[in-house]
Amino acid sequence: MYNQENCKFSKTHEWAFIEGGSAAVGISDHAQHEISDIVFVELPKIGDKVEAGKRAAVIESVKSASDFYSPLSGEVIEVNNAVASDPSLVNKAPHGEGWIYKIKLSNPSEADSLLSFADYKAAL
């Protein structure tokens, strides 16, 4: 759905799939593997303003809570309620049904400082 080759990545393991003036975001396959069994996702609310590099969601495993830092700034226009009811979707399909939220970008040029998939993979 959000093929990793076509995503931009943050160093903190979030991805953004940019389409026009908006983006879908989620966590990388590496991140879901490191976090392991995901049992809870705290989503932002539609209308929330999120900032690049600031906590916008929380991904929790059995024993730990990991902050999800928004890879880009903008206003939340859609949240993935499916991951709230079945958090394991983030493990099963981090670039598909396990996406976290969508934003209308407030500063699209921020994407320039994100990594390509090849660069992200190389940095792991």
């Binding site: 392991s36 705290e42 059995v62 024993k63 730990s64």
Partner: protein, 357 residues
Amino acid sequence: MEHTLKKTSLYDACVKAGGKMVDFHGWLMPVQFEGIIAEHSAVRKNAGLFDVSHMGEVWFEGKDAHKFLQTLAANNFKNIPGAGAYSHMLNENGGVIDDLIAFCVTPEKFLVVINSATREKDVAWFKKQAVDFDVKVIDASDDFSMLALQGPNALNILEKLDPEIKKLPRFNIKSAQIFGEDIYITRTGYTGEDGVEILGGAQFINKLFSWCLANGFKPCGLGARDVLRFEAGYLLSGSDMDESRTPYEASFGWVVKMNKGVDFIGKAALLKQKEEGVKQKWQGFTLSGAIAREGALIFKDGKEIGRLTSATYSPLFKAICAGYAPADLAEGSEVEIEIRGRKVPAKSAKMPFYKIL
């Protein structure tokens, strides 16, 4: 730094079995293998194994071994070969130095199993207290490796190695021969399921580890172990209780045997506390819509009343936690737990969350 971390004799075997190794109080231990949920399920429904070789084992040997143990820890220990008991070892103020399980191997020889993180402190305390007794305190932790084999099918599988294994009563120890080696088996565990813990030399335990993997046991890590023990209401020494808390405050008053006829260390302080009553006690809570974590503050009617010492997601009970809060807080009371700056409604709950034994 990694090179300063200790490894158990099962380190290589754990890595080979897919263990994700982490620093646990100075030991490189598997926090998980396949995943905490799968491992938790294996122990609750079938059979799981845990490397617990980091735990400390100490011999009390001599004429006064039993008398010494009775003075050292609050529970009543029998000096009948095979008998064992869980207890708390207290300081003069009644504070919990550590919890332990002691087994009578012979009336003059007891095996005491202690926590790895407190091993040096515990052994120093044993030696300090032993001076007035005819007893030798021998730290044998480096001689023993240990596997915990837990779950409703654990003993069914282990019957192939020891046909008599199911006859061993709870909390008892026996010596046995497996693979031609003399080893110890105890009917104990830290999961709330039936099972045993087997103590032996490094080579033997490695052989047993391989045999168990080939015979249906799932390797499990410290992550699953912590969820299982907390569901079963077992305390984690150093987190749920320490020298600032007594067994009464920890809601483990049953380990205190006032009438055993021995003035055990801490008894006077506990007698006083028993009379006065405790202000705070360790108690459980459940919540929904968020998962609480250790250290979170507990509020009632806007006022801070306590702090969580254990908290986790549980595959059986979702978000569960426990901490010290006013002793008069009624079961079912509505409280709030602060999570990321937000107060989440929670309810005081009966512990243990899980009990079948």
